[in-house]
């Protein structure tokens, strides 16, 4: 798992790499505060630039090769996109998305197959079943994705 540098917010941060621009000599407190403020503004501008660049890359016809290349490049410079917590969260999200879409799909299917709801109770009951199936599919998909990452981790450990 990638070490989270700010796991404990009560502990001051330590920088890890990227010291090219760190000042070599002692700075006066006012000068230091001004440098911090300037750097924060620079970071805001960089974050905006990164967001624009990513939007531009993904808004057009980005292919799976583009994403693989980007992922490889980020790993090359030591920035892994996702740590294990992120992966579990993504797995959970996919689980819910799959669950909800499965539930909705089931509801649509019932409607198409001739189960036209004659009264609100019937509709409510069908929706309840659909939601139940969706929930079960979500739990199943979450477990499956967790199992997948666990297996991947085991594979990497070999």
């Amino acid at each position: 798992m990638t070490k989270n540098p700010f796991e404990n917010p009560d502990k001051p941060l330590e920088s890890s790499g990227g010291h090219e621009e760190a000042p070599e000599q002692e700075m006066a407190p006012a000068e230091l505060e001004s440098a911090i403020e300037g750097k924060q503004e620079e970071i805001n501008a960089q974050a905006q630039e990164l967001s624009d660049e990513i939007n531009e890359l993904t808004s057009s016809d980005a292919s799976p090769e583009d994403f693989s290349l980007l992922e490889a490049k980020l790993e090359e410079i030591g920035i892994n996109r996702f740590d294990e917590d992120d992966k579990a969260m993504i797995g959970k999200m996919w689980g819910w998305i799959l669950g909800v879409t499965t539930g909705y799909g089931y509801m649509q299917l019932m409607e198409t197959l001739g189960g036209h709801y004659s009264n609100p109770e019937e509709r409510l009951a069908t929706m309840g079943t659909a939601l139940g199936i969706g929930l079960a599919a979500g739990v199943l998909a979450t477990s499956a994705s967790k199992l997948y990452y666990w297996m991947q981790k085991k594979q990497e450990a070999k």
């Binding site: 009560d10 001051p12 941060l13 990227g18 970071i43 990164l50 660049e53 980007l70 980020l74 920035i79």
Partner: protein, 53 residues
């Protein structure tokens, strides 16, 4: 343990507030340098994509 990105950012800001100024500048420099590298990585991919066309 799953963490909300906003929660993570709030923790980062809290930790950053407790960091002495000199170290704070070093951390911000590291963040800025990583952002620079990330921007360059995206630009590289865009260039490869253009060449592929």
């Amino acid at each position: 343990m799953n963490q909300d990105p906003k929660q993570l950012l709030a923790r980062f800001k809290k930790a950053l507030d407790k960091t002495p100024s000199k170290e704070k500048l070093e951390v911000l420099n590291a963040v800025s340098n990583n952002l620079k590298k990330m921007i360059q990585a995206v630009k590289d991919v865009k260039q490869v994509k253009q060449l592929r066309k």
